[in-house]
Point group: C2
Chain length 344, copies 2
DNA sequence: AATAGTAATGCAAATGTTTTCATAAAACCT
DNA sequence: AGGTTTTATGAAAACATTTGCATTACTATT
């Protein structure tokens, strides 16, 4: 309507309408303090009238930050990463960044492909989930020399900066709790640990504790499930119908624990009377379910927020070298566990 | 390492190494059929050696598609949109697009701001959630003449293309079910309907049915809750402790229904014996919870997939005009409702 | 053998910005 | 009033590509 003739609304159109040069228009966007307030007003008016929108692509070409962040997560499909992603997003939004997101479905080849795609778009930093990445991925990141953080995991020897929790310790805490309550017939419900260091670490934590306590894991009571409530429920059903039903179940995360809760309910088993359950994660809903899920709290929102800040700063240059932040974790006792004094 | 001297790996570096002109390099990326296979090999090799990564920003500047899609959702934080987003993402990934995502927390002003940011990045299309958007937002989209779809809602009179379900009908189905079972003391648990046409439409659907059935809603039994399990649970608790406890509760969506289930459990009310509950959405987990949630199924994955395909095609030009797709919905009877023959 | 057509490539202009440098005008200081 | 600094602006180069046009070298066709 307004831009009737040649509806190409670029910086030239604005300059023309405001009777200034394009340099001035550009400056009025990027260094407003350098341009006369009156001129700025004129430009502002022209921008409004024409509906001009800056072209970040053209900016990016100058080696200027693209203002985008390439976030790659295993999945967006459920609770697990929802909170971190939301917190991360809020945190970087506040700094004016735009998030590109993609999921790889726990396939590290796809992760690499996604990363390349992101790099074509010249994302400023690259946040990842966890420590398990292909060799190619690590090399790509190092070669491009692009700021990267891994979220969700913490390790002193990580190859990249990391902000997260010690997953092995999470496993330890969960197992200690159950063992401390006297349970010895313990079932394990974990996700596949391939390409998933978080799950692997947690598992190794619980194994350590069980070993120390002289409890060995009955292979029949050691089952695997993907991160889906449906899957977890049917895997749990298998556990609960085992001839030697465990008195307690340790779950790789809260989604799986939820599956156990539902499975128990459908078998008319009372929790915690007939079965104790502990999860890891403390997702949304874990405290509301009845009885409230006893779990190890991983501070998802905090991790997301910290990672967001860290990256924003490492881009704007206030921060440069790598960094490892370990967030506190703790066992939250709610209603799914009770002491066990069975024969054994 | 490889690019030792002037570590600026651009198209020139590749051209030099492969002993061809930059035009040829560019062509070999974008129109491979125009370049001699042998040359292509040489270029390919140079690219590998140098670790060259194309710069999409430079491409975008030519008015070529940016290859990005700006997805703006109310929230990424829970189940509600997780499935649509994942399905949408998978669908457009397959076409080589990259998703930019942002959430606005049900604030239409923020939505507008996010949209502008996306447009600065020259996103190709703009998928939104629902029909409620500010006037400014609609004008921006129309003026920029950018393909947009709204997901999750369906209406014959929508201003933009839409792919989704008829939310009013969803409300109707939910209410009809409960009324059909003989319930007359019905509680309502809905989210705030401001800036949320989905919720508003559903509500209007149930109101219509209740009105038809001569049931009027006791204001005490008409409560509001944000989309959070915690909130929903405490709101539901309020309902269940009301002096005139309803025999059935209609929920604006499954997250809220979940809250009701948990609340009932914590009050030692049996579902469906003491209370019937129906949700809307059929999210992940709704079928696994015990008893399984009776709800109106909205095909989230299908909506996401269709919207993704629609946009991918409208970008690549195979498809141009707007379009309205209504997805089938249906009441799924599971275990949270039972007939009611109370005095009334 | 001459001509037309095609395949493969290079040159240079174009894309929409930012920024360095230069210049002009205004303000400040004796 | 003359010189100096400051403020405001513009011209043009730079950014990393794509692409239209021109050129060259082949391959068919008569």
């Amino acid at each position: 309507m307004y831009d009737s003739n040649k509806n190409k609304v670029d910086i030239f159109a604005v300059a023309k309408r405001a009777n200034v040069s394009i340099s001035t228009v550009s400056r009025s966007f990027n260094h407003p303090e350098l341009v006369n307030p009156a001129t700025r007003k004129k430009i502002e008016r022209a921008v409004r009238k024409l509906g001009y929108i800056r072209n970040r692509a053209a900016q990016t070409m100058h080696g200027i930050r693209s203002g985008t962040i390439g976030l790659v997560v295993p999945t967006i499909d459920h609770a697990i990463f929802a909170e971190v992603v939301q917190a991360f997003s809020d945190s970087v939004d506040a700094h004016g960044f735009t998030i590109m997101i993609a999921s790889h479905g726990y396939d590290l080849e796809r992760e690499y492909a996604v990363l390349r795609k992101f790099l074509e778009h010249r994302v400023d930093p690259l946040p990842l989930i966890g420590e398990d990445h292909s060799q190619e991925t690590y090399e790509l990141i190092e070669r491009q020399n692009i700021p990267a953080v891994t979220m969700w995991n913490y390790s002193e020897t990580s190859r990249l900066s990391c902000i997260g929790a010690d997953n092995k310790m999470a496993g330890v805490l969960a197992a200690q709790h159950l063992v401390g309550l006297g349970h010895r017939d313990i079932g394990l419900l974990f996700p596949p640990t391939k390409d998933n260091d978080r799950a692997r670490d947690r598992r190794s934590g619980v194994q350590k504790i069980l070993l120390n306590a002289g409890i060995n894991i009955n292979p029949d009571l050691d089952v695997e499930s993907t991160y889906s409530i449906a899957d977890a429920k049917s895997a749990a059903l298998h556990l609960l119908r085992s001839p030697h039903r465990p008195s307690g179940i340790l779950c790789g995360n809260d989604v799986l624990a939820m599956g156990v809760l539902y499975a128990a309910r459908s078998c008319n088993l009372d929790i915690p009377q007939d079965l104790s359950v502990v999860g890891i994660g403390d997702f949304k809903g874990s405290s509301e379910v009845e009885p409230g899920l006893t779990t190890v709290r991983l501070p998802a929102r905090e991790i997301g927020r910290l990672a967001g800040n860290h990256l924003s700063q490492s881009i704007t240059g206030d921060l440069t070298n790598e960094q490892r932040v370990g967030c506190d974790i703790a066992l939250i006792e709610r209603g799914t566990c009770k002491p066990h004094f069975g024969v054994s």
